[in-house]
């Protein structure tokens, strides 16, 4: 804090509130798929950056899974040295335009920000996004790379974990090939997170950047089927990183779940995001949305599904969650966005069966009320059925967003790869080392469904471990 703030107004009191994010108005945005948060202007970014106290022992960095030097990039930003600012971020994070948009900063860097004690924390994520977007409009710089090592690494999956691991490894001088099963790169960023939260051109830009770093991204290639992990190791890859993500959607197993009009959140979001069915028939993949939509679940995926359904023209969208508002696992910001747009929540209720019409399409849902009992192993109070409290809701579309279980293809085709009883891959420690030599894993395939940034953190740590492994191997 010794040096004067370059752009700050002379010694004025530092504002306690952060600069609000400019957004599309709720009544407008509920009818379109354009990005909701519009991003700071330069002026807004400078004002917000000037709220940073430049703590000598910054707490924010500790909260960042990829250890970005936050005070340093904010300092560069407020000195209007935007190109250096983004470079500072990219030393640690290859996908800043994505993280600036979808990281749960309130639980990470911003949670520990000193400014948050007497007001609002610095909006670190918004500043990160500002710099990343600035760079896109200006000159994209390619990070420097170490001399080639003659080692080759296969990365399974072009999602947040895979893209991060690949970018780190290629910067360290290794040859990297990503095998992506879908026809577009991005993983959950492209199939899961909606356009209005994370525009797909941003994802494509970030994937292109990883490509420009020298990573070969091969699409429509499913590891476990097109090639197995043992085959990759035999075919000359010195190490493999598995970042294959969360897989199979979970259902509740209640009667009628296979009726028409009932989607898993995965199916619904894949259709809408990856296949762009909101633009059907210009795009070939259809989606059918009714008037009365319910979404089962309370996480970010449930919020994304509900908000997408609204934009597709549903008259009313109701989130049905078995616990109460306090236990909603979704980000506060996303809950607020959803509520502003007119989505209603029905708490302490769960479906017990679906009722179909004569054509096999869902027409109603029978629910039961719940009450909260003693805390369960997750520490949250366990929902218990209130017997005799059943009630019927008229619905014509249901989106089941209660989580995913790991995709089984790699585990079934890789002998000796240790997995848990839930099907996730067992890793030794933070390095992501699996039971097979030279094979590392990270992201949702290890932790079960988690966040984009934690997957990126895992990709980064695994990349370091793989680098060490390869260095040792050659010496």
């Amino acid at each position: 804090m010794a040096e004067p703030l370059a752009e700050a107004k002379p010694k004025s009191k530092i504002r306690k509130e952060s600069v609000p994010m400019p957004k599309q108005k709720p009544e407008v945005r509920r009818h379109n798929f354009n990005e909701v948060a519009l991003g700071y202007t330069e002026e807004q970014a400078l004002t917000e950056a000037n709220r940073c106290l430049q703590c000598p022992q910054p707490k924010c960095v500790e909260g960042c899974p990829v250890e970005i030097d936050i005070p340093a990039f904010i300092k560069l930003l407020r000195e209007k040295r935007f190109d250096e600012g983004i470079k500072k971020i990219k030393e640690k994070n290859s996908l800043p335009a994505i993280c600036g948009r979808v990281c749960p900063q309130e639980d990470q860097c911003q949670k520990t920000c000193v400014m948050g004690k007497a007001g609002e924390p610095v909006s670190i994520g918004r500043l990160e996004r500002f710099l990343a977007d600035w760079e896109k409009q200006n000159n994209i710089q390619i990070a420097e790379k170490a001399p080639p090592t003659s080692k080759t690494v296969a990365v399974v999956g072009a999602g947040p974990a895979g893209l991060t691991a690949a970018a780190e490894l290629v910067k360290l001088g290794h040859k990297v090939v990503i095998f992506e099963a879908l026809h577009l790169p991005g993983g959950v960023l492209v199939y899961g997170i909606p356009e209005f939260r994370l525009p797909k051109r941003i994802v494509q830009n970030e994937a292109d950047y990883v490509g420009k770093l020298g990573v070969d991204i091969r699409l429509s290639c499913l590891v476990g089927r097109t090639y197995t992990i043992p085959e990759l190791l035999k075919n000359g890859y010195d190490a493999v990183f598995i970042g294959s993500g969360a897989g199979l959607p979970q259902f509740m197993g209640v009667p009628g779940e296979n009726l028409g009009g009932i989607y898993s959140a995965n199916e619904f979001l894949i259709r809408v995001n990856l296949m762009k069915s909101y633009d059907f028939p210009r795009y070939d993949t259809p989606i059918r949305i009714g008037k009365h939509v319910v979404v089962i679940g309370g996480g970010n995926v449930a919020m994304d599904s509900a908000r997408s359904a609204l934009r597709l023209g549903a008259e009313e969208v109701c989130i049905v969650y078995r616990r109460s508002r306090e236990e909603l696992p979704a980000r506060e910001e996303e809950i607020a966005n959803a509520e502003e747009e007119g989505i209603v929540c029905k708490f302490l209720a769960a479906p017990v069966r679906y009722i179909g019409d004569e054509k096999g399409w869902v027409k109603a849902m029978e629910c039961i009320c719940m009450e909260l009992g003693q805390p369960d192993e997750s520490g949250r109070r366990r929902p218990c059925r209130v017997e005799g409290s059943e009630f019927i809701m008229d619905v014509d579309t249901v989106i089941v967003a209660i989580g995913r279980t790991p995709n089984p293809i790699i585990q079934r085709t890789t002998e000796g790869l240790e997995t848990t009883k839930w099907g996730t891959i067992v890793v030794k420690d933070e390095s992501g080392k699996t039971s097979l030599e030279g094979v590392y894993a990270g992201g949702d395939i290890v932790t079960g469904e988690a966040t984009v940034i934690s997957a990126m953190g895992a990709g980064k740590k695994a990349a370091r471990a793989i680098h060490e492994y390869l260095t040792k191997k050659s010496s």
Binding site: L222, R225, T226, Y227, L248, F251
Partner: protein, 273 residues
């Protein structure tokens, strides 16, 4: 990019296409499928592999030109390229030495069925094959199947060639003992076959082709009810025990997007293809 090596019309609006896909050709086995995407706005369409040549590095599939994508694909000529082809997907068929095997193929699925017939013969089985179509003109592979099988039956829905309908199967089942039956074709046909083999206690395997989006275990759109359990055709199948499949539900699920599919196809035709 996957170059089209050859295109052949098997019957009106049924085409056979051989494409270059060396990685898939190296790995694929009978019973598996591929996922195809045409262009940046295309849908993902699953197609059962109907042939492969590991040396040439090609795979083949057959398709009915019924929807927008398959109509579009029907215009592809030798030398054209398919941008995205993913595979091989799904579990390979269980090809073992069972003894006396009954193979039943209907409609466009006669094409992939010929791979099974071939594989069962190579594994040392006696193979009786039955192929069927709606009408005579839509039948194909009669000679090929005759050459591959120990015995061949032919049937059409209207009786314009061979037996009329599936009724003859009952007589076949009564006169000969089969150790295994595999059926590929329209859902109603597989349902009927499964119902007919059940009283004889013949293990019956059916290949299910529900709607899929990704084809590799993500969307859950291809979920089917098998013996009261929810299964995903793409990762748990596509082959299942025909005596346990809830066919009615499957028929219903296959119809979910019918109006949209029709609209898409119509608009495409109106725009002149």
């Amino acid at each position: 990019m996957h170059k089209v090596v050859a295109v052949e019309e098997l019957a009106p609006k049924i085409k056979w296409m051989e494409v270059h896909a060396s990685e898939i050709a190296t790995k694929c086995r009978p019973g598996q499928f591929v996922m195809l995407v045409l262009g940046a706005k295309g849908e993902r369409v699953p197609l059962t592999i109907a042939g492969f040549d590991r040396k040439k590095g090609t795979i083949s599939f057959a398709f009915n030109e019924v929807g927008k994508t398959t109509k579009q694909l029907g215009l592809f000529k030798q030398g054209d390229s398919i941008e995205n082809l993913l595979g091989p997907l799904g579990n390979p068929s269980e090809i073992g030495k069972f003894g006396n095997v009954l193979c039943i193929g209907g409609g466009v699925m006669i094409a992939p069925m010929h791979l099974q017939v071939q594989a069962f013969r190579e594994a040392g089985n006696k193979v009786t094959t039955a192929i069927g179509a709606r009408i005579k003109d839509l039948l194909f592979f009669e000679d090929k199947m005759k050459a591959l099988s120990n015995k061949l039956y032919v049937a059409t829905d209207d009786g314009s060639q061979g037996y009329q309908g599936l009724g003859f199967l009952n007589d076949v089942l009564e006169t000969e003992k089969f150790d295994r039956c595999v059926a590929m074709g329209p859902v109603v046909m597989m349902k009927q076959v499964s119902e007919m083999t059940k009283p004889f206690g013949i293990p019956t395997i059916v290949t299910l082709t529900p709607i899929m989006v990704d084809g590799m275990g993500m969307c859950g759109c291809c979920r089917v009810n098998v013996g009261g359990q929810m299964k995903f055709a793409c990762v748990d199948g596509p082959e299942f025990n025909g005596h346990l499949v809830d066919f009615e539900e499957l028929v219903n699920r296959q119809r979910v997007f019918m109006p949209e599919e029709r609209l898409s196809s119509l608009l495409w035709e109106k725009s002149g293809g």
